[in-house]
């Protein structure tokens, strides 16, 4: 699956884009970048999701599906059941966000700021 996505991404970048102009060229770049996200998601996504789930289970005190656990975490933050000053919460949010940005926008300037610590 990963190879297929990378092949299409490479086709767009090296073969199709030089033939395109204007708006279509711009959208081809956006499409290639989107496939880059898919490729990174396939590569590192499952492991990141497993870690996120394990961390959520530790924070919330029980196992569950990823989306349900995230919903519960949101509810707890909102209702003040988890203190936003808690370092366990902050570490969790930071780690999951770093993993997410590495997949979504690995060149984002905010990621460099985060890593410069």
């Amino acid at each position: 699956m990963l190879e297929l996505v990378k092949a299409v991404q490479s086709f767009i970048e090296t073969r199709a884009m030089p033939e395109l102009k204007g708006h279509t060229a711009f959208h081809a770049r956006v499409a290639a970048n989107a496939l880059g996200i898919v490729a990174r998601e396939l590569e590192t996504g499952p492991k990141a999701a497993e870690m996120e789930k394990a961390q959520l289970a530790r924070l919330l005190g029980h196992e569950g599906e990823l989306e349900e656990l995230n919903r519960e975490l949101c509810k707890h933050i909102r209702e003040g059941k988890i203190d936003i000053e808690s370092s366990a919460l902050r570490q969790h949010l930071e780690q999951t966000t770093l993993d997410k940005v590495m997949i979504d926008q690995p060149n984002y300037s905010g990621l460099k700021i985060a890593k410069s610590r």
Partner: protein, 334 residues
Amino acid sequence: MTTTVDFFADLDRALAMALPGFERVESITRLSGGASQETWAFDALIDGRSEPLILRRSPGGGARVTESGNSVALETEAVVIEAARASGVAAPRVRYVLKPADHVGHGYVMDRLSGETIARKILRDVEFDAVRPDLARQCGTILAKIHQVDAAPLAHLLPVIDGPTQLRRYRDLYDSYNYPHPVFEFAFKWLEPRMAKPRRQTLVHGDFRHGNLLISPRGVEAALDWELTHIGDPLEDIGWICTNSWRFGVADKVVGGFGDLRDLIAGYEEAGGGKVDIDDARTWIVYGSLKWGVMCMSMYQGFRADGSVERAAIGRRSSETEIDLINLIIHGKM
């Protein structure tokens, strides 16, 4: 081009009555079109001289309709621009506000000034090298003048959208997507006590950032696009231009990717804008990132409707704002 514009003859007739010495519209070109307005560039022959002008008009000339409902009427926009100009704010002079009898629709005509609005050029092109270090201070000066405009005569035209109101609106918008983002919840929770009380209220530009700042090698020529102007907390404008999403990769230059916050504040205070507390400014930068994050979610919802690649990809950009929120709130890093 000109022959295909259905309101061309009507515009010509309206300006002939409105502008002394007006002879004719020479050429007209569509610059951009959004859901909320059309922008046309044209030249008008006035007293034998060709003058560059802009027509801002609602799509098809109808009344302005927007998703957010935050936009003011184009006629109000024109009134606010003139009030701001009277207080020394750099903005394009409004030449004529369309009337219903003109049959051109809702909108107004203003001067077309020269300069650049594209961030990547302003931040990277050599011709801006000399002026770039001074831009943050100039932005501070312009904002100080905007925030000192006498808002009383405008009060009946403009909505009051203060800190608590804004936070509630974006909370409602976020909730409506029913898509849990723990970092956004965290940011809302962090902001709530900090934005709980309405504070100083002034005229606010409402969208003071790259794209709406006309910049030439001489400096900031004008603040454009007053569509989101309102009465609110002046720190909103300072926080928005400092939001990382508007730095276009030059993250260490907090103000628009070109300058330092202390320079903006120096320009602001010197021009009589009042004292700016850094922690308060940071609160509004956090708000700016959160707002942009929720806007990305909102654009992604648009993708579900139109299926474009660009809109699909922008949903992923909300994670950029999440790392910005972590940097700002947890580590105090702008």
